[in-house]
Symmetry: C2
Subunit: 122 residues, 2 copies
């Protein structure tokens, strides 16, 4: 029987997995995937949910995720346009890990702010 060997390493500069890491270790990706974890959602709602994201950045982020197979795009032949986005099975494997990061940021921000003050005071 064969065993999967770690052919790839993010620590190698030229390894494609590093660029992949750069895409998933990204604040917009984290927020989009976290929100989409709650289920299929249309563009406009996603944009409203993620306060402050511009339409341009949201479009780009979703395109990249779709390209990598993490998100599916559902287009309805309606007018005005109606487009929904959904995590794929692969994308869903990222939901929990990225949710953890979002939660970490929220749960530890108070402590971080204190540390920062202490550091800045020398």
């Amino acid at each position: 029987m064969s065993q999967t060997v770690p052919d790839w390493s993010v620590l190698a500069a030229s390894c494609p997995s590093r660029k992949s890491l750069a895409r998933i270790a990204n604040k917009w990706t984290a927020m989009v995937v976290t929100v989409l974890g709650n289920g299929r959602m249309r563009f406009g709602d996603l944009k409203q949910e993620i306060d402050g994201i511009s339409g341009k950045v949201l479009t780009e982020t979703l395109r990249d995720l779709e390209r990598d197979g993490l998100v599916t795009r559902h287009v309805y032949a309606e007018v005005p346009p109606r487009v929904e986005y959904e995590l794929t099975e692969l994308g869903f494997t990222l939901h929990e890990p990225l949710l953890v990061l979002c939660r970490w940021a929220e749960q530890h921000i108070a402590e971080v702010l204190v540390n920062r003050e202490r550091y800045d005071a020398r």
Copy 2:
């Protein structure tokens, strides 16, 4: 008894937790914290371990992590300089989540590359 309420949300543009998320959901942070998870390490070794990182970026990343209280800096009064970095207790709570991201990138890059080809072929 009191319950911790979610005062903070990364989905709010002006919430400080979002900037915190931006710092931890970052490829350099992910690699530095992952490597430091193996134990205290000096600057030069860290730089060698993370192939392709420039001294400038490594310094900046470590400063930010130190400022937020995720990393401790140990300076030895020697010459040539000897400086070691170590995860704090707080920083260590991030090790596992960020390691997961690195592993994800490595383990799914093959599938991602296939998806990407399929997408680019229309």
